[in-house]
Amino acid sequence: MYAPSIITLRQIIHEIRRAIPQGTIKDNLMIRYLFDQYRKFNTTDQQICKAKDEVTFAANTYLCYLRSSRMHQEIHDQYHGKGERSVQETANMVGFKLPHDPK
């Protein structure tokens, strides 16, 4: 099992990879920065573990931002009007077939 912070990191990377048009995270600045931060806080002493909490919270908040933005966009894309539907599309929506479709 991975630690919760690692799971968050993986999810953030997953969201970024989905969101950017290049589709590859090679040379991605944000990812590199995230790894840096994770390494840094991994080696931090227990003394400043309050800071670690803060970082974990910030990472989760960022994940929430990425994920909610993506879902918002997906719902928007699915339902946003694109003009009038064709007869075919309307028939498909209600489960009908056109006269010339195979049965």
Partner: protein, 275 residues
Amino acid sequence: MSLMLNAIRILNKKLIFSAPNNQLIKRSYAVARKRFYRKTGILYNDGKYEITLDQRKLKTPKGNLFVVDSEPLAFAIATEWNMQKEKIWLTSMHLTTLSNTVIDNPNNLTKYEMVEYIVNHLDSDAILFQSHENDDLYKLQVEEWDPVIQWFCDKFQVDLKKSRDMNAPVLDTETKATITRHLLSYNFECVHGYVYAVDTLKSLILTLACVERFLTPEKAASLSRLEEEFQLKKWGRIEWAHDLSQQDQEARLSSTILFIYFNSTSWLTKQKNNR
């Protein structure tokens, strides 16, 4: 001059076609620009961070240079710009738009005015008004909201009273003064973030609980929609209305919380030097 040109360009492109026979009337939306850059990056200059789109520097709508104080914020904004696919949808880039508002300050607000605006929200805070018609809903509100109110009172050493009718609970001046002091301890950028968050959640208590890490952004958003969620269980949920607004609210809130974080603390730059 360039502003004028831009306006003319938009006019030409879309705005309103009212044909003499009234057949074609279009609504006026600003046209989303195409993504004109390939790579985004950040620059460190004079203690501040700038965003680059290819070799160009990002500017605000008023034409000021876009600069932020915090490194992680700059990375997050560069990522926002990188996430735009064919068109640039500014409405989905909450961190960018918030920073734009802070840099341009189009309403010429001062920090004190904004704090006053936020604190005035406390009188009509959403979670202080609880249902008097529906006992099930009231039970749920007591269960979910009261711990947050209690946390707030303990944290700031104040006394809040809730209301079950139209009359707003009376707040003593001491409470307002305490919260005002707390908010004034933040810088200008953060107070801007607070205004945005309070407008999103309709509640200052939930906003502060979220900034202080008592609630996650998801939880805070769901608590501000408590009555809606309660009614949805009875009447049904519609994806293109309820889920859409929920995701939008979560995105707005979490981006604002990040914005307040990155502008308020220096934990990401300080902690290593102590070793």
